[in-house]
Symmetry: D2
Amino acid sequence: MQKIAMLGSGFIGRFYADSLQGQRSKDKIVSIYSRREESARKFADDYQVGHWTVDMEEAIAHREVNMVCISLPNDIHEAAVMLCCKHKKAVITTKPLGRNAAEAKRMLLAVEQAGIFNGYLEDLVYTPKFIKAFESVKSGTIGRILWAKSRETHPGPHSDWFWDIEKAGGGCILDLGCHCVEIARTFIGKDIRPVEVMCWADTQVKPIDAEDHAIGLVKYENGAIGQFEVSWTFRGGLDLRDEVMGSEGTIWMNNFLRTGFEMFTTGKGADYVAEKAESNTGWLFPVGDELNELGYNHMFTDMFRAVEAGTQPRETFYDGYIVNSILDAAYKSARTKLWEPVVLDIWRGREGVSKDSHLTEYDADHYLVKEETTHYGARKVILKHKATGKISEKVLE
Amino acid sequence: MQKIAMLGSGFIGRFYADSLQGQRSKDKIVSIYSRREESARKFADDYQVGHWTVDMEEAIAHREVNMVCISLPNDIHEAAVMLCCKHKKAVITTKPLGRNAAEAKRMLLAVEQAGIFNGYLEDLVYTPKFIKAFESVKSGTIGRILWAKSRETHPGPHSDWFWDIEKAGGGCILDLGCHCVEIARTFIGKDIRPVEVMCWADTQVKPIDAEDHAIGLVKYENGAIGQFEVSWTFRGGLDLRDEVMGSEGTIWMNNFLRTGFEMFTTGKGADYVAEKAESNTGWLFPVGDELNELGYNHMFTDMFRAVEAGTQPRETFYDGYIVNSILDAAYKSARTKLWEPVVLDIWRGREGVSKDSHLTEYDADHYLVKEETTHYGARKVILKHKATGKISEKVLE
Amino acid sequence: MQKIAMLGSGFIGRFYADSLQGQRSKDKIVSIYSRREESARKFADDYQVGHWTVDMEEAIAHREVNMVCISLPNDIHEAAVMLCCKHKKAVITTKPLGRNAAEAKRMLLAVEQAGIFNGYLEDLVYTPKFIKAFESVKSGTIGRILWAKSRETHPGPHSDWFWDIEKAGGGCILDLGCHCVEIARTFIGKDIRPVEVMCWADTQVKPIDAEDHAIGLVKYENGAIGQFEVSWTFRGGLDLRDEVMGSEGTIWMNNFLRTGFEMFTTGKGADYVAEKAESNTGWLFPVGDELNELGYNHMFTDMFRAVEAGTQPRETFYDGYIVNSILDAAYKSARTKLWEPVVLDIWRGREGVSKDSHLTEYDADHYLVKEETTHYGARKVILKHKATGKISEKVLE
Amino acid sequence: MQKIAMLGSGFIGRFYADSLQGQRSKDKIVSIYSRREESARKFADDYQVGHWTVDMEEAIAHREVNMVCISLPNDIHEAAVMLCCKHKKAVITTKPLGRNAAEAKRMLLAVEQAGIFNGYLEDLVYTPKFIKAFESVKSGTIGRILWAKSRETHPGPHSDWFWDIEKAGGGCILDLGCHCVEIARTFIGKDIRPVEVMCWADTQVKPIDAEDHAIGLVKYENGAIGQFEVSWTFRGGLDLRDEVMGSEGTIWMNNFLRTGFEMFTTGKGADYVAEKAESNTGWLFPVGDELNELGYNHMFTDMFRAVEAGTQPRETFYDGYIVNSILDAAYKSARTKLWEPVVLDIWRGREGVSKDSHLTEYDADHYLVKEETTHYGARKVILKHKATGKISEKVLE
């Protein structure tokens, strides 16, 4: 059983609490820290938390607490992590780990030196769809992974600090791209080195200093390509889709806006406001169980089972550090307009992986370009001669 | 915390166990009964259950047990319920409650006389989508409910006893229709009396005595209509869809085959068999988290919270009895080809509800038939004169 | 080349004209008749028609005209058809053919006696999706047809005469059910006799004398079942979906509301009114090319090719007569609450078809109930003993 | 009426012919040229073409011909165009116009100097969905266009010459990217200058010299961004999707694989091979009317109406030239890994367009970052101070 100190009582803290104490959970939040007393009290009340405080260290140090959950603005993650190290408390933190790789690296080194359990709360690699898709990918169902794209766009975050580049550390790349990058990286293989990044970013709609729209490509050592599409300017709700191309198959996942639930209302009935939706009349697309669809339940289960079993969860501070390093390269690329290398002071994956071959042997002299059934029902192959490079067609039997 | 005796170790017992002991649950199965020792042992092993037995009463009477979960073939439900009454153990049972209303009624009266907690495990009114849709309906979002259809079709059940009409008590009407009837009834209002049923049923494909395909209409006292479409002959997987029409809106739910998860595989990768799917190559449509999508998690949470709070769960034996009564009328109608009345010896809902009016007043002399925007952008109304019945059009301004 | 007299200048007449003279068509409307001079003039102007008139016979008799297209309210179809017979002009008429089978039969006999080409404009068996689906069905792709459902619901027709039961002859059953019945009948086989009909109908929302919501089942001689779901009370646009179950497959078609085109608008941009949509903000689902999606282009092509080739089109007055006969039975059933026989004075299909067998042989002693792959990867069969009826399972290694 | 010489009798030539002579068309192919006599004869036979030849100039010069349609491999487009100029015949050509901008420019200058009608057969800006979406965009429905993405991926072309880089001029960028680039450009505005391109391309799967997968970004002068995703390695059929983000809305179009038509077959029925599909059992997604869905009908209508009216069609050789110029930049970028400028010797759009502003005024001192409804139903605004840049929240009333 986990006894949790929750740091932060905002939107994400409440989402976490709903999951942590939802259904028939044996885990409990025993202390809540918020910067504002009013918020701390209200949270304690809403979630029946015995202890509240406006002193972060007090929550962490609370004798009942065996696990600290950080749900704070990005600029306070590091300070919170350092206090967990000081008090030797297991720590799990919301995404992104740091505002940049330097912060992330310090946090990673600190928790490892302190020897404390560390988990990185990247919920979107724990969604039920992702988990099942990933099992298929691992078992080879779609062959060799060529491309993995993740898209997260919506009309902008709820809390003011996100829009403040100093507190947030960036715009939608940091806020949303951290998810997308880890999703693509997991599909491609977490032991495959991300090599370089090309990123376009712009501030197209919002009167802010940070980017509100960005698209990035991440090249991996085996030739696979990751892609992220992120924006705070999307209209229509929360668009959360992943696509994967493999040499033998395809995966498409829609995590939020099209999940098989459709509702139309003229608005003449009673009031209804769909969560995160941009309208409350016409066709609406609610999600049945957001906590589950967004991966929170499976994520906390993995974290707590790991800490109780003395193993590592799927996502650790190391993963958070890799993600921050990739995003650093993306930000740099958006400025320099060049493919920027991913600088990794710490790398624990495979080294010297070579690009996967694109040569499928057909016979001694030819490579196979394509095999298909013609309109006439015959099997046809398109071949390339190994020596001359000449393309030819051959109808079988 | 619930300490459960599971009766039955088959397909549905394992599904329940996966949900009961999934995620970070505080509830545990402490005894497993199966008719076959081998199955009981295996289940105990797989789910780390301390006690197993081939004597049903022993499991129920086990001193640790405070809740009995019945996952047995339909023909043994009654015997199991009676033993729970004898030992005064809280009981929850899989659907349908009985093979017919007579059995269901005896079980209902027995548990109420024994004063034990009773829950009816109709999971499909606990799916995340259903729960959210039902909240919208209750809040008036789609207006007055006119029609609620539920469809469950698949290529037939896994276990042999389903195909034996003596053990099962019927075919797909009983097996699948019980879900559909309760879904429609809940949308229309559980306090509205189901009045009569028209049902077509046939054995079109399977060499069995029971029906393998049926369509039924259930008329309610307020004029709303429930519809069920059930079959064991559907090809393509598990089709689980609900549709609701209200005077101010529409709800469409796809619970299984189209939930925003699509996968294509050539089959040249590694083996993969999607659950309940009929193929393992080409386009596949897995469900991310079946236990959650099928409502098991939310159902057990409701059951256990209710027993701990001393309240009633959403679904009790009384609901199971109403469902059996409606299905009895459906079976009778399939034979007589008449609309058959729903015979309810026990009815705890509203009495004497009259049909909802279809007359919307426009002005002193007219009813409003329709209001619409023409191609030219003008507002047009179609009216009916109250006295003469004459239809007329009027363009506004 | 066809030179057409168009009778009727309303909503459907304009739809037909858009199709007839759309793209690079060689056919032309040469005369337009409307009851109101203003409408006739406007239509002639909009579609560059050389001749207009308020005298129906004048349009039909016009020397250039070789084809008459009836787009009039239901109660004038018969009079128009009789004039075509008198002037020996080829005639095609909008659906339904008559207000009832008696009218339809008189029209059928009249055109056949006059020896004129006759086409029944049931566009929904000419939609591109239907045509391709039907080819698959004919080629056996989904096996033996068990059930064919067609659903057409929307918030009610545009013109006032539809709401007047005398002019229209009925409500949504006649207006929409005629489509649904012919769709199901075509999938099941136009040579298979429709035997009897069960229909529920009610006036739930609109202040009218006719039904605004109905559900019907049509039983065919081979045991297949047709289903129609029709309503003028649906909210959300035009719902036009077909589903077919075969012993070896399934077909689902969505002809209008979900065709792969989705648009969201905050409404802050310029005005936009989507056709037939009920809202102009939020998520909208336009259809790219309504004329094509609704089958008009393929329908007129079939009609005109047939008349030029001296053959019959897919849909003739005979089909219109069969549809009216089925709808008559539906109306009667809605009143009597009984399965009503389909009375067919004229029947040109197969006689004495027996119900398809549901017995699949497994071996000399057994029928096959089901074959499936277990969780463990083994093949399992469920069998029924021919003599004893006993159900058994057998695992095939 | 158009009398057409068709140059080329392959896959695309037949597709064009099906459209040109489909439905009730008044246009006819009067001469067919193919490099191989056998093909020319067969085409003439299949489409009832009076004249066939293996001499290209003979077809073009044929006295009946008033329009030449080029359906040849990319490397012969220029020669064919020059012959049209020589014989002063109107010319329409399949995409891409040239293998590169130099070829395209020569063709553009030649047809303009010869004063002949020229049309560029970019069918995908003529699909019914595109046409309706584009009308919405033009009318301001989704506000200012921020991003337009087009994706076309499939398992590789049918004819051998596509795989030969000399004949084709490139790989999937040229073959498929030409579509995507013109789609995005049309949404963003054909009078807005494309400024620079970043492109990743690789040969991941096929044993060829050209790229089989590429992703590109095209920056426009007004700050909008176009994106293309193209591949010959996609598994699952033909993926043809467009997405547009505007400041006030969103458009999603699926042109092929998910258009509301779904079929499942066990394969035990008769044989069926869905066009371009990769499998013929399991879940299949046919397109109802490919010719119409892919825009051919609307494209030829626009072309022929324009030539008959003496106006220009939507797509001319000038557009083909712009597309080739953008693709040239893409190829260069794929090599240099830099954002490469789009070199346009000829530019007929607007000059000196500045980037759209992202500053929405809230009041004298503030810009508006976001306005939203909180969970509590209150309206909240997030503001940025014009002078200090400080972000603040304000709850209204």
